[in-house]
């Protein structure tokens, strides 16, 4: 999905926390958004996901405004995802039920994805008994299962232990490569951005200070703020 951001601003109580004149996320790109706390990263991706409205400006998805068809084709995963008060299986099956897919196919697709993500053993467990990291895996599986062409991840792999992080990253990478999806990933882990993303944007004070290929932004930043941020991240 191609995303075009135009003159976007967001103001809370007279404080402008987001001001992006223009930004283009081409179809099939894997964009990493990095930046300090309070930079406006979550606000930006929530607006892209249609969960928040901009104060001014607009976003075009494949050259059109947000509508139900586009909404059905994108998703967002949060750091602290909301899990439905039911089993892990039903949580992951839910997006397919919404799309009136038959039971057998739901079963096949759920089994496939929980196998890939290594959470098959959890499928009958009640979602509210999961650990934080397990919950994040379930949320990722639930997001990938309906093949959205835009996937937004807001610190979706924070709290994950080092061995599981690779399993989650593999799932995301495989998804990206097999589905030609567009992925936007907010992360505080610069190494993760380097491992996964092909473009990176550095946000600070509500603006996109710098963007380019991962190598450009991470190894050869031009702006002072980016340099400092990246240097500190690698210390």
């Amino acid at each position: 999905m191609d995303i075009q951001i135009k003159n976007l601003t967001k103001t809370y109580n007279n404080r402008k926390i987001l001001a992006i004149d223009g930004f283009h996320i081409p179809s099939k790109s894997f964009l990493g958004i990095i930046g300090p706390n309070g930079a406006g990263k979550s606000t930006l991706v929530k607006i892209i996901a249609g969960l928040d409205t901009p104060s001014t400006g607009c976003i075009l998805y494949n050259h059109e405004g947000l509508n139900q068809r586009i909404n059905r084709n994108m998703t967002m995963v949060f750091q602290k995802p909301y899990l439905l008060r039911t089993t892990v299986y039903n949580n992951i099956a839910y997006p397919l039920k919404l799309r009136n897919i038959n039971k057998e196919e739901i079963h096949t697709r759920v089994q496939k994805i929980i196998g890939e993500m290594g959470i098959a053993g959890l499928q009958h467990q009640k979602a509210w008994t999961l650990s934080g990291g397990e919950g994040q895996k379930v949320a990722l599986a639930r997001a990938l299962i309906f093949n959205p062409s835009l996937l937004i991840l807001d610190e979706a792999t924070a709290n994950i232990d080092p061995s599981s992080i690779y399993a989650m990253e593999d799932a995301i990478k495989c998804y990206y490569e097999n589905n030609h999806a567009t992925i936007i990933m907010v992360t505080h882990n610069i190494k993760q951005a380097k491992r996964l993303c092909n473009t990176v944007a550095f946000m600070n004070g509500g603006v996109i200070e710098e963007s380019g290929t991962s190598d450009e932004v991470i190894y050869n930043p031009t702006k002072e703020a980016t340099k400092t941020f990246i240097k500190e991240a690698f210390l």
Binding site: T75, R85, T86, A143
Partner: protein, 229 residues
């Protein structure tokens, strides 16, 4: 205190006596209060949820009015309904006065703000997250509403239990619009009030105990329903 002891004995005797009248009173009570709770729930659940997740003008004012209506004295509700449905009132030709329908109307008015307010409170807590999740997974408006009801079922049931408790225990409204007519609009609370005023304290206590037992049974059923998936 002797009355309470005698009341307990009497309540057991009463239930075992298989006296038709007492069972009719109990059934009418249940019928009137459960029907008004259900009608209220049909209105209050969607309204409470929408109030909890939507922003709209005068919301704060509306919520204050709602909270006030949650504590409405039953006699006042009874009186207002009475003024509307008495023979000379604007709805007099419907001939509702002193019928079980009148009691249901009064209790519905009494209970709807209670369920709405409690559902609103429950939705305010977790509704936004549920709504956002539904949206990110591609749910349409109806599917979102269904998901909200499903996910908030615990607070919704708690709200309904409170509403039912209020309905079945109030006496002022049903007394005014129902009239405590024997074999017709006599319910448990009006029987208790009448027995008390006639000095039959043991009988009043006995029916009070029956009321408590029934409350316990209804709540247990609702509780089991709420626990199940």
């Amino acid at each position: 205190m002797r009355e309470i002891y005698e009341g307990i004995i009497k309540s057991i005797e009463l239930l075992l006596s298989l006296d038709g009248e007492i069972y009719r009173i109990i059934l009418l009570s249940l019928y009137v209060s459960l029907t008004s709770t259900l009608i209220s729930a049909l209105i209050a659940i969607p309204v409470g949820i929408v109030m909890g997740i939507k922003k709209f003008p005068f919301k704060q004012g509306m919520i204050r009015v709602l909270y006030t209506f949650m504590g409405l004295p039953p006699v006042i509700v009874g009186l207002v309904v009475y003024l509307f449905i008495r023979r000379s009132g604007p709805l007099g030709n419907l001939e509702l006065i002193f019928t079980s329908a009148a009691m249901i109307i009064a209790q519905t008015l009494l209970v709807t703000p209670i369920i709405t307010g409690l559902v609103y409170n429950g939705t305010k807590e977790g509704g936004e997250k549920i709504k956002n999740l539904a949206k990110t997974l591609g749910a349409n408006k109806t599917q979102t509403m269904i998901l909200l009801i499903k996910e908030l079922r615990i607070s919704i049931f708690a709200a309904m239990v409170s509403g039912y408790g209020r309905a079945v225990s109030e006496v002022g409204a049903v007394m005014i619009v129902g009239g405590n007519i024997r074999h017709h609009t006599r319910v448990m609370t009006t029987t208790i009030a009448m027995n008390h005023s006639m000095g039959q304290t043991d009988m009043a206590i006995a029916i009070g105990i029956v009321l408590l037992i029934l409350s316990f049974i209804v709540n247990s059923l609702l509780y089991r329903f709420q626990q199940g998936e």
